[in-house]
Amino acid sequence: MAILRTFIMAVEKTNLFIAKLMAYISIICVLVISFEVIMRYAFGMPTNWGHELMYSLFGMYYVMVVGVVHFWRAHVRVDVIYASRSRRTQAIMDLFNGVLFYLFVLVYLYTTWKFYWSSQMMSYGNTFLGIEILGEASFTDWGPPLYPVKIMMPLGGVLLLLQGICWTIRDAHMAFTGREFK
């Protein structure tokens, strides 16, 4: 039991830390877009990186927060049957739902990892000290590498998977003993 408790705490602390980190990222996004707008409309000197930097950062943000949102149980549910059940019945329902949940997460993890890896292995002719560096770059003027955004997709998937395991442990405890896991 102690090891499960440690595991749950570790996962949820990590997810909350990620939430804080992403909160800072969103604040950076605000500064980036404001800088871009001011440069464009006040000085007539638009940057070639403002928009792309912002939507890349927000892209990371969306996929990384999925775990902590699951921790908060903020992913919206259809409550018609679910909400009016007792906590124990909900736990049993969630154990059944778990099958589909894990199917979703595992398929997501597998496909996004492949998606990331193929991007990492593309050759765009970037060199560093004469050695070719692999990795897909964006086609825009600024041309930043795309794989740092893409690797966040499987990473976020791992966070979601771990958080899902935490809920399954809690639900299983609830379903079998009728008490909350503490």
């Binding site: 969103s26 877009i33 949102v69 739902n97 997709m153």
Partner: protein
């Protein structure tokens, strides 16, 4: 398998999974994945990351977290209290004045926030106790907050219209321009209803007693705190509607402006900013992942020929265009009882959009009409978001049944508003025509 059976199969299993209580994002996603593998082979599932990547790096959608962040910052700088305080003193002398003030304050808040939760919860905490203390009718008080708070999703800057514009490829500036009048129309209907009820039955909503009313000096004093926020919102919405700035840019600069206003008021610091940003994660994560999941699902359905099927079924049925619109609206109202609005938009718009164009209706008109309609989904039990928000902060003497019942007359008014917008399309189209179509 014929398309009829496919439709029954995939929608049936989606409904089943959703009703078991698996979050909408995952249930639509997993049903989409399973049936993609079944109908197109396991290799086809590889399209999932490509779809999600397209959505997560969509520049337009970034307006969603930015508008939510702006609303959260404004909320933490106490703007809802200021607005409510101002309207309360200006309109309290009317019969039913506190309820009317609630609607007006909510309407003003709706023009600053693109979501419902913050307004609903804050008004539930400040306006509801005040109305109950003044012996306002319980149902009237609850209903006013429910209906008023829901306007947030219709009146720009509305998150709903951003998603609609993104899915349907229509201009968000035009959608925003079109949504103002219907929003004010609904707000007006609510106020007329409250006032008439309270003049017929004065015990339902007594006016604020004379000795508590402010003199002219006091009235202008309560006006000052809201001026900076009002100017900010005029700039943010003005630039979008006129078409100078993209919604994302306006929202981003709006966040900065809201933070500066908060700083000047002395109610904002680094800690409350991070809290606002963390609160934003909750709402954004939910909306974005429902978009991802529902997109995987509906993309599959359209790939197996669902779009044509729905198209042929509705257009080939020999029904008139207006009957088809009514069927669509009825379907959306029905779905609104069970599914949240993001899911409904993502699932229906890719199917309805092409039909609307074929029937010769204006897509901007239909977009705003959908938003007016989807407002009802916040109030229709058993799954109405506003009902949950308000119940969570209402005092214990207001039971769930009270909250549900209080929504009914306002649901009726929203339906009247919807019908008015259908009979007189000019309510929606007047402003976009004026601004964009010369």
């Amino acid at each position: 398998m014929s398309i009829e059976w496919i439709t029954i199969c995939i929608f049936g299993s989606m409904v089943l999974v959703m009703f078991m209580g698996l979050p909408v994002a995952f249930s639509t996603g997993v049903v989409g994945i399973i049936f993609t593998a079944v109908f197109m082979g396991p290799e086809a599932v590889n399209v999932v990351p490509t779809r999600i990547f397209g959505l997560m790096t969509n520049y337009l959608l970034d307006a969603i977290p930015l508008f939510i962040l702006m609303a959260n910052i404004l909320e933490r700088s106490g703007i809802i209290e200021d607005i409510y305080n101002m309207v309360y003193h200006w309109l309290g002398w009317l019969k039913g004045g506190v309820a009317t003030a609630t609607i007006v304050a909510c309407t003003m808040m709706a023009a600053m926030a693109g979501v419902v939760g913050a307004t609903e919860v804050t008004m539930g905490m400040i306006a509801l106790p005040q109305m109950l203390n003044r012996n306002y009718d319980k149902q009237m008080s609850l209903g006013a907050i429910l209906a008023g708070g829901t306007l947030g999703i219709l009146i720009p800057p509305s998150i709903m219209l951003i998603i609609y514009g993104m899915v349907d490829n229509s201009s968000i500036g035009q959608l925003y321009a079109g949504a103002f009048l219907p929003g004010f129309l609904l707000s007006g209907l609510f106020i007329i209803y409250i006032t008439i009820r309270c003049y017929i039955e004065p015990t339902m909503g007594p006016p604020v007693p004379k000795e508590e009313r402010l003199d002219w000096k006091g009235l202008f004093k309560v006006l000052f705190p809201i001026i900076p926020g009002t100017i900010l919102i005029f700039l943010v919405l003005g630039t979008i509607v006129v078409g100078v700035a993209a919604p994302t840019e306006a929202a981003g600069v709006g966040c900065l402006g809201a933070y500066i206003i908060g700083l000047l008021k002395g109610r904002m610091n680094w800690k409350s900013l991070t809290q606002a940003a963390i609160g934003t994660i909750k709402a954004t994560g939910m909306v974005m992942w429902t978009i991802f999941g529902a997109n995987v699902f509906i993309a599959l359905y359209i790939m197996v020929g669902g779009g044509e099927f729905v198209n042929n079924m509705l257009l080939g049925s020999g029904l008139g265009p207006w009957t088809i619109i009514w069927i669509m609206m009825g379907l959306v109202i029905l779905l609104g009882c069970f599914v949240d609005w993001v899911g409904i938009l993502m699932l229906t718009i890719p199917l309805f959009g092409p039909i609307i164009r074929k029937l010769g209706f204006d897509p901007i008109w239909f977009g705003v009409l959908m938003s007016v309609n989807l407002q009802m989904s916040f109030l229709t039990p058993p799954f109405g978001m506003s009902l949950f928000y308000l119940k969570s902060v209402a005092p214990p003497e207001c039971s769930t049944v009270d909250v549900w019942k209080s929504a009914l007359p306002f649901l009726g008014l929203q339906f009247i508003g919807l019908v008015l917008c259908m009979i007189f399309p000019e309510i929606i189209l007047w402003a976009p025509k004026l601004l964009f179509r010369g």
